[in-house]
Amino acid sequence: MSVLLIAEHNNKELKSFTLNAVTAASKIDSDVHALVIGNNCGDAAKAASQLPLVKKVITVEAAHYENFLAENFAPVVIKLADNYSHIVCSANTFGKNLMPRIAAKLDTSQISDIIKVESPDTFVRPIYAGNAFATIKSTDAKKCITIRPTSFESCESSGGSAPIENADAGEEFSLTKFIKREEIKSDRPELGTARIVVSGGRGMQNGDNFKLITAIADKLNAAIGASRAAVDAGYISNDHQVGQTGKVVVPDLYIAVGISGAIQHLAGMKESKVIVAINKDGEAPIFSVADYGLEADLFEALPQFLEELNKLNTIQK
């Protein structure tokens, strides 16, 4: 029994959630092989070989793997699948897009977004926006699994020296063409892995007012999140959305500002260690999950918050 872990990377570096996926894979079986598909992705393959939990790295390189299209990636994985009992990937947009295309070809009922490995065939996964946890057992011979990265620790990233093998590239799928990717570059910590997240909702009223959130986030070295309402209204871009169909975050501190707390939003943040809610509606559901609730007008509270933080005069890392 061996586990094939599909590494997510940008051709140079591994994406941080690959480290969480490796941890999950190693809980299924210790023989974890990392598959790095890309174009000139030798550095990413090298980084994968240094993960102590990885026993072997397989790289498959070709120009048509440059942009990670599922139509090109799936045949590569399917060709290697015979040697593995489990195929594992992160349940972010990369893995969500790719894994079902593999599972269907292998005639396997995929197990999405697991938060716990009970045994090699039994897993726990959230359903109904995390309002219930289902323990499920797969009867398929080969299992295709995506893992929720925030539910598994990152693995060690150095000290390993797994051998790197090359495998042959497949043909290009000519019916899908990559045009462009617009990535929002930021010096802030990544939303998915930040220690502190400050999020704004519909209560922010417009995009300009998000500068109040930005100021607090700057002070706390925090990532910036948002509710779907705020993204839909155009206050902030989609990559900030936290919730059932956005990102799931588990920071040490989550500060929800002007967010009422629909169950779809709670699904993305209620596992946070400490939750603060600032909302002028004392009945808002967000207060039911908040450790510290402040019933106040955010336009008064946020500047005061910044002032108090400045008084503390501590540097956040």
Binding site: P100, S112, L175, I179, I184, Y292, L294
Partner: protein, 249 residues
Amino acid sequence: MKILVAVKRVIDYNVQIRVKEDGTGIVTENVKMSTNPPDDNAIEEAVKIKESGKATEVIAVTIGEEKAQETVRKALAVGADRGIHVKVDGVIEPIAVSKILQKIVDKEKPDLVFMGKQAIDDDCNQTGQMLSALLDWPQATFASKIDVKEGKLEVVREIDEGLETIEINTPAIVTCDLRLNEPRYASLPNIMKAKKKPIEQMNASDLGVDITPKIQQLKVEEPPKRKAGIKVSSVAELVQKLKNEAKVI
């Protein structure tokens, strides 16, 4: 151009679900059901494309128990031309759903298949991708913008890093994000008219698809509850608590 749209009946997104005491599942009796929200966006987009003159027919298909037909009826009321209801009782996994849809595609030969990116009940996010794998068609998942061109679509996809634009040749599968459009409400006259539109019914077994679940659900439980927090009276108190009690800043 013909567009097939798959819709699913789920517990309404506003309902606070309850776990059955015996741990066998979720309480569904006397609970409000409705169309899976992003499936409404899929129907809306198909109808808009038809209204722009770029499509000739929109077919809504659902798979589920007798009452799932309501979901198709709703699609007909907002502009779909006809419906298909594949009757299935009990749990059906995305792999089986995609095999049934493959049979429907073989029969109807649509140029496009639209559906929501994820169902809000099982949160699997699989069916569209699986169907495109079975058909060897291009897939555009998590679509927030669709431009119909001659023989192709340009689709903007929402990804973790931001936005990605791809071009796919038809026939193709698109899974829709909630931001793709603003679904319309059905007017009363259109609801009445929809009652006369045809819905073809069939059984999954008629299609020769094995829908036996391959995943056993051992138990369903409530997630651990957060213990109730406190209300603070001022920002100063909040900051002190965060520093001295929670020790997170």
